[in-house]
Structure formats: C-alpha cells, structure tokens
C-alpha cells in the first residue's frame, strides 16, 4: 500500500515501539537543528552578553599593563575611581572590578594576569559579602575556573554540591547551546516584541547598548558620572518598598575558605613584589544596620588576615568617610561622589605608607574640590 492510500489516522495504527522511535528521533533532530541555528547566531547573541571580565581582559591584554590596578567586585567597580589615582600619582590606573567576582576569582585573576606583567600597585576593594561562608553562585566564576581549580577547591574547601554543580553547568552548558544562551535568546526575543512587551524590550535594548559600549580607557564607568540619573536608595525605597532589593546578610565563619584564599593571594602578591593595599568598600548605613551582627566581625577578620600577611588595610569607617543612604545606588553599590571620597581616602593612606613611588600635590587639591551631585 502506498503512503497516499493510508487512512488519515494511520499513525494511530502504527506499533507503539515504532511510534516511540519516530518521536524520539524527530524530537532529537529538532533539538539538534535548533541548537545549530543558535550556534550560528552567536554573533547576534553576543550583543546581549554582559561579560565584564572578557571585555576588560581583552582591553588590558592589548596594551601595556597600567601601573595601578584597582581590583574587586562590582562594589570596587564603582567605588575606586582610577582618575583620582592618576591625578594623585601621575601614574596610569585601571579599574579591573568584575561584577559577581569574589576572593576565589581574584586569586586566580591575580596569578594569571600578573604572571608575566606586573603593576606597581594593586588596590583591592573588599566587602564582607565576598567573605561569606554561605555559597552564592557567581557568574564571574564561569570565566575563570578550570578542572585543576575545581580539584584544588574541593581538596582545600571541601565537597560542595553548589560549587560542583556550578562548575558542571559552566563546563557542560556549552554542549547545549540553546540552554547555555537562553538568557541572550530571551533578551533578543524580548527586543523583537516591543509592541507586546514594551518594558522588557526597553530593558533588552539597554543591555545591548551597554554591551556595545567600549570599555573606557581606565576601565571605570559609573552611571552617575556618565550623566544617567538613577535613583538613590531612598528614592527607590520610597517609590516601591516591596520591589526594593535587599542584600542578604552573609554568614560569618572565620573558617570560611575565602579567608585562606585571601591570605594566599596576599602572599603571592608580596612574593611577586607588587605593593598592595586592601580597602574596605563600605555598605550603605541601612545595610550596615541590618548586617550589624556579622559585619564588624568580618571586617576584623579581614584586618587580621591583612596584618598576618603584612598588607596595609584601609577600613573606611563612617568617621573618616562620612556617608548617608543617599550616597548609594542601591544597598551595596556606592554613588559617584562617595566613590571619589573613598578613592581619596585610599590614596591618602597609600601616600602615608609610601606605597606610591611619588606623591603628588594634586591629592590635596582633589580633596578640597567641591563635590557635585551629577
């Protein structure tokens, strides 16, 4: 019987085993075909991929290493202003803050980036959140960790389902491109659906524009400094207290792997003859109040590690760097003016400790300058 003569419901008469095989085969073929299309659309999807590390790494690799490297997470990305360091010392400074990174990533970054080329000073901005004993998944990790790093982490920090799971996702994820690029696929789709999802489309467009923007010459970009009028915490909270995102209180344990890694990193920097200063990037007063039970202990523990490894520590207390909630973008990220004040405090302390090769009188001038809210 030819296929034309088959009754309309012939598929119901096929054997279950055969039907099963056809379903599995056609589903597999479809998944594979879509995956190939997604792989081919990589340049298009890359337009939506926010990747601080890749962008900054490519930028720095293509030119001589700046003299002063400012490092840390997104907190440092906003709080340490390279231009202030340049004005104070006449040396080139670069902000290498990476969103979502923590001590484990900095350690790897330092050892890889400074293996061949060494800066004259490393300023490391830290916060209690980066020393938390509870695991918080980090996007930055996926760009840095390798198998040997995982083995090292398991040997030293113990077996953690979260760490192994995150690592497996990084390594196995690219095998299924549709899933691996689902975030970018979603943004691409949302931008196309402007008529139905105007707010989502606007967000997707903003992401694409942000990704397309080249890295500034000193790696520093703060929305307030660039004229974007984002609400400060008070304004955000008053606008919609429920939607306001609070930073989760970290879990403190002096045995947390971050402290050991931090000490190892400071040792490595010392053995490589790279002058280093660690500064505490403070949380907003509102967060300090919520974290009052753990944050002072964590700052003391960070100071201890710095002392044990002969590294200067600038804690930035309220008395030295006064601040209010209005100085913050959100609970943990500083506004531009506060970033300037924190940077100047670190510069003052670095000068006092003779960490800079030469101090410049412009520091004092920068200190006296009138600060204006952009």
């Amino acid at each position: 019987m030819s296929s034309r003569e088959l009754p309309a419901n012939a598929h119901r008469a096929t054997s279950p085993a055969r039907r099963r095989i056809v379903i599995i085969f056609s589903a597999g073929a479809t998944l594979l075909a879509v995956d190939l299309v997604v792989r081919r659309a990589e340049p298009l999807l890359n337009q939506y991929q926010v990747n601080n590390f890749e962008k900054k790494n490519t930028d720095v690799s293509a030119r001589p290493l700046p003299d002063i490297i400012l490092m840390g997470s997104s907190r440092s990305m906003y709080a340490l202003v390279p231009d202030e360091f340049r004005k104070a010392t006449g040396l080139e400074a670069y902000n290498f803050g990476i969103s979502g990174s923590k001590v484990a990533e900095w350690q790897l970054l330092v050892e890889r980036m400074f293996e061949q080329r060494r800066p004259r000073l490393v300023v490391l901005g830290v916060n209690a959140s980066e020393f938390r004993a509870d695991y918080v998944q980090s996007q930055a990790a996926r760009h840095l960790f390798g198998w040997d790093d995982l083995a090292e982490a398991v040997i030293h920090d113990g077996l953690s389902l979260e760490v192994i799971g995150a690592f497996a996702r990084q390594k196995l994820g690219p095998l299924w491109a549709t899933h691996h690029r689902s975030g970018e696929l979603r943004l691409w789709g949302e931008e196309k659906l402007t008529a139905i999802l105007p707010k989502h489309a606007q967000f997707a467009r903003e992401v694409r524009e942000r990704v397309a923007r080249p890295v500034p010459h000193d790696g520093y970009e703060h929305p307030w400094a660039m004229g974007e009028r984002l609400k400060n915490i008070e304004e955000q909270f008053l606008a919609n207290p429920v939607a306001f995102e609070t930073a989760s209180v970290p879990l403190f344990s002096r045995e947390a792997p971050a402290y050991r890694r931090f000490g190892e990193m400071l040792d490595w920097l010392r053995s490589a003859n790279i002058a280093t200063i660690v500064t505490y990037v403070p949380n907003s007063p509102r967060t300090e109040k919520r974290w009052a039970v753990v944050e002072p202990q964590m700052i003391a523990a960070i100071a201890d590690v710095c002392r044990e490894h002969d590294t200067p520590f600038a804690p930035c207390p309220q008395l030295v760097v006064p601040r209010t909630d209005r100085d913050y973008l959100d609970e943990t990220h500083v506004g531009y003016d506060l970033g300037l004040r924190i940077s100047r405090q670190v510069i003052r302390q670095s000068i006092a400790m003779s960490l800079f090769p030469s101090a410049s009188p412009t520091v004092a001038r920068a200190d006296d300058a009138t600060e204006t809210q952009p």
């Binding site: 598929h11 998944l31 689902s182 979603r186 429920v242």
Partner: protein, 499 residues
C-alpha cells in the same frame, strides 16, 4: 533540592539508572530509601532524624497493634503514636504560634506575660509525612491493613522522595502493596511519565513563577493599587497557587511513575468546580480525603443531626486551615471554606424535593438553558468564594525589609481586609502603581484554564489528542526549548514546601 533544578536532574538521573540496573527488589528499595534520605538532607541533614524517629515509632506501634488482642492496650498504643507524631508537629510547627497567641490573649485580658518564642526551624514537609504515618497507624488500629514487617518498606513509604516534602499524602493501603512486586521497565510508563513531568515543569516555571512577579507586589502593598489591579492579582494568585502545587504534584507523580510506582491523583481541574464540596473533591484530594476519613467521619460526619454536621464541617476545615500553617490567616481561610460548605449543605437540604416532573422538565430546551445558567452561576460563585478565601491564604505576616522582623498577624489581617474591601469599594489613591504593564502575563491564566478544561474533557471520556509521531516529536522538542528559554534563571521553592 527543587524538582525544577539541575541538581535534581543530576540526582534523579543517577537514582533512575541505578534503580533499573539493580536486579533485586530489596536492593532497589534500599537504594530508594538512601536516595530519599539524601534528598531530604540537602535541606537540613539533622532534620532527617525526625523522619527516622517518626518511622521507628510508627513501625513498632503498628506491629504492637497487629499482635495485641486487648482493645485497651491497642488504644493506648494508638494514643502513644498520635501523641508522638502530633507532639513533634506541635513543637516544630505550632509552638511559636501558640506562644504568640497566648501572649496577645493575655495582653488583651490585661495580664502581662512575656513568654519568649522558641524560634525552632520548621522541617520541610513535616505536615505531609506526619499525616502519612498517622494514617498508617490508624488503619492498622482499625484492622483495615496488616502491619508491615519490613522496616525498609515502611521507611520507604514514609520517606519516598518524590512525595516526601509536598505530597500527595499517600495511604499505606495504596503504596505498601506496590512494594511487594518487582517492577519491570515499561516504555509506556516512561513516556507518559516524561510528558507529565514536562506538564508539571511548565505549570511551575512558566505559569506559577511568572504570575508570582505580578502577584507579590500587589499582596505586599494592596493600598498602592487600584481596584481593577486587586481583582487581577487575586485571580492571578489563584492561578499561581494551583500551578505551583499541581505542577509539583505532576512532577512527583511522574517521577514515581518512571520508577514503577503509582501515586494518587491530587487535582482534578479544581477551578471548574460548581460548588465548594465539588471544589474539595478536586483540590488537594489526598488532604481532603485524609481529613474526611480520619477527622470528619470519626466526628460523626453527616450521619448525625444537621447542626452537628455543620459543626463537623467547621472543625474539619478549621483544622485543615491550621494544617497549612501556624497563622490565624490560615484559620480564617479554613473558616471561610467551613462556613461555605455548611451553608451549601443547608441550602441543598432546603432545595431537595421529590418532584416527579423535574426529569421531564429538563428535557425541554428552555429548561436545559436554565440548567446551564444555574451551573454557570454556581461555577462563578464557587470561583469567587475560593478566590476571596485565597486572599487570607496569601496575606501572611511579612518580614520587614529593614528590621528583618516578622510583622504581627494583625498587620496581615489588616492587609487582607483592605484587599477584600477594595475589591468592592473603588480605591482612592493618588499616583497608584501601574500593574497593566504586566498584562501579557494574563495570557498565562488563559493557558491554566485551558489545561484544566482539556484534563476535564479527558476525564469525561473524550479521547486524548494524538498527533502523528513526527509532529509529536517536533512538538516535544519545541516545548523543551520554550521551557529552557522562558524559565526564569532563579529557582524558586514550591509554595507548599512551607506546609
């Protein structure tokens, strides 16, 4: 470990493979038991001891009940089991609630008390496994089932991981016999299980989690939204809780099915119910039948006087509400359902007449139309009562974002009161927040109703939609891709885990 996480996918792949590779029934049961405890321990390794304790207690009590002939001794053993199980539940779930309620009661009476709360961690799924073990002991006491001699089998019945943390509440009479046979790998079970898992996953990650983004802000601050938005949020919460819970149940049933076990049905298109009693035959069936068999009927059920029946309904639903959580808002939710059920019973009692002509009348077209109108009206009123009650269910005391302290229940009740009042009375708000920018999400409510209508039509004997094999294959693949792309990146826990 959440069903919709990659960690569960890895865990289940391992358990599934090892289970079907193992040759003997006992080895498989040991594997499932170890896996179940490991599954629970990913939340809190210490709290698994409560499950083990409850298992040992009820295993021993049941064997004692089986062996003893003296009714007095048997009753004592049963009481020991009930006190042990409910004692654990009371301590871990209700102690703080009772202390806080006592404090406020004394304060109202002008007596100063300062009893401090115990702040005990709430073990995930404690209400589910406690009810499960209790039903076993009671059934053995009633000599409806014999006590099992295999400790492994009984422990697996209590801790079987697909239904351990949020049900369905399985009866020993249904589950234990399934452990007596060795399972054979069955492709039909595999394929139907896989499809059911996809349905559950879709309900959870696409519908419930998306609706939550619309619901949460409105319920947290109803005073910042206009009346229309309150109505939308109320119906969206109804959709969210149904898809969240039934999605979990679908995944639990699917995971069990591919391992060769059948769990009971827990939902039957509940939002198509035409009365509250119909709703409870369709919603969380394993709980409602548990409450019926072990509380409502022992209280006398409906075979006693009218007023005592109403009382029994109220008691059953109040305790059913309290089962969900230690909060007065749950009690009020139960009270609304109890009162609604009692009212419906009273109304039905008034209406029942032996009219010989009624059957003939329904034959006519007008009568059929009237019948349809009545059914539609009943459906709508049931839907409204159920959703009004959901407002109390959803308005739980919140944690203050600044002080991180739990607000008093009175604040939650005030929020629920405001919400319900302004469903009727239009709000007068200067500069209300705008909910309609999330309007496309309302399509998900339509999808939810479509799923229920389809399931109902299958139940009524309509044949399932069968696509040709290649189209079905492509459809499944596109479904998986849609789930992958549309699912939110954050994994959220199921609402019923807290109960």
């Amino acid at each position: 470990m959440i069903f919709s996480s990659w960690l569960f996918a890895a865990f289940f792949t391992f358990v599934f493979t090892a289970y079907w590779v193992l040759p003997t029934r006992n080895a498989r049961h040991v594997l499932l038991l170890v896996a179940s405890y490991a599954f629970y321990m990913t939340w809190n390794p210490w709290l698994v001891s409560l499950i083990v304790g409850s298992t040992v207690l009820d295993y021993c009590v049941a064997i004692g009940l089986d062996r003893l002939a003296s009714q007095r001794s048997r009753k004592l053993l049963l009481v020991a089991s009930i006190v042990g199980n409910l004692g654990i539940l009371a301590l871990f779930k209700y102690a703080d609630f009772f202390i806080l309620s006592l404090n406020s009661l004394c304060e109202t009476a002008g007596v100063r008390t300062n009893l401090s709360t115990l702040s005990i961690i709430l073990p995930v799924g404690i209400s589910f496994y406690t009810f499960q073990t209790l039903s076993y002991t009671i059934d053995v006491y009633r000599r409806r089932i014999p006590a099992t001699r295999s400790f492994i089998d009984f422990a697996l019945f209590v801790a079987f991981f697909p239904q351990l943390v949020a049900g369905p509440i399985v009866r020993a009479a249904d589950f234990l016999p399934q452990l007596r046979t060795i399972k054979r790998f069955d492709w039909d079970r595999m394929s139907s299980g896989a499809v059911l898992f996809l349905i559950g996953l879709t309900k959870k990650v696409i519908i419930a989690d998306s609706l939550a983004t619309l619901v949460d802000p409105v319920f947290a601050q109803p005073d910042r939204y206009v009346t229309r938005d309150l109505w939308i949020a109320m119906f969206c919460y109804g959709g969210q809780i149904f898809c969240d819970f039934s999605g979990y149940t679908d995944m639990a049933i699917a995971a069990s099915r591919v391992l060769g076990f059948d769990l009971c049905e827990n939902f039957r298109s509940p939002y198509l119910a035409t009365s509250l009693s119909d709703f409870w035959r369709r919603w969380h069936i394993s709980l409602s039948t548990w409450l019926r068999d072990y509380l409502y009927i022992p209280l006398g059920g409906s075979r006693i006087s009218r007023w005592l029946t109403y009382r029994n309904l109220m008691i059953t639903m109040l305790l059913g509400g309290l089962w969900h959580g230690a909060s007065w808002t749950f009690v009020i939710w139960g009270a609304i359902h109890g009162a609604g059920l009692a009212l419906a019973k009273w109304f039905n009692g008034m209406r029942t007449t032996d009219d010989p002509e009624s059957a003939a009348r329904t034959e006519s077209g007008i009568a059929r139309l009237a019948q349809f109108g009545t059914t539609a009206l009943c459906w709508l009123s049931t839907l409204l009562v159920v959703h009004f009650a959901w407002v109390f269910f959803r308005c739980q005391p919140m944690i203050d974002p600044i002080t991180e302290k739990l607000e008093p229940t009175s604040a939650a009740l005030a929020r629920a009161g405001f919400f319900l009042k302004h469903l009727i009375v239009p709000t007068q708000i200067a500069g209300p927040l705008w909910l309609m920018n999330k309007a496309p999400l309302l399509c998900l409510l339509v999808l939810m109703m479509a799923i229920q209508l389809y399931e109902e039509s299958i139940r009524r004997g309509r044949p399932r939609l069968v696509l040709s094999a290649p189209i079905a294959g492509v459809g499944y693949a596109l479904w998986i891709i849609a789930l992958t792309v549309l699912a939110p990146t954050d994994i959220t826990a199921f609402i019923y885990f807290q109960f």
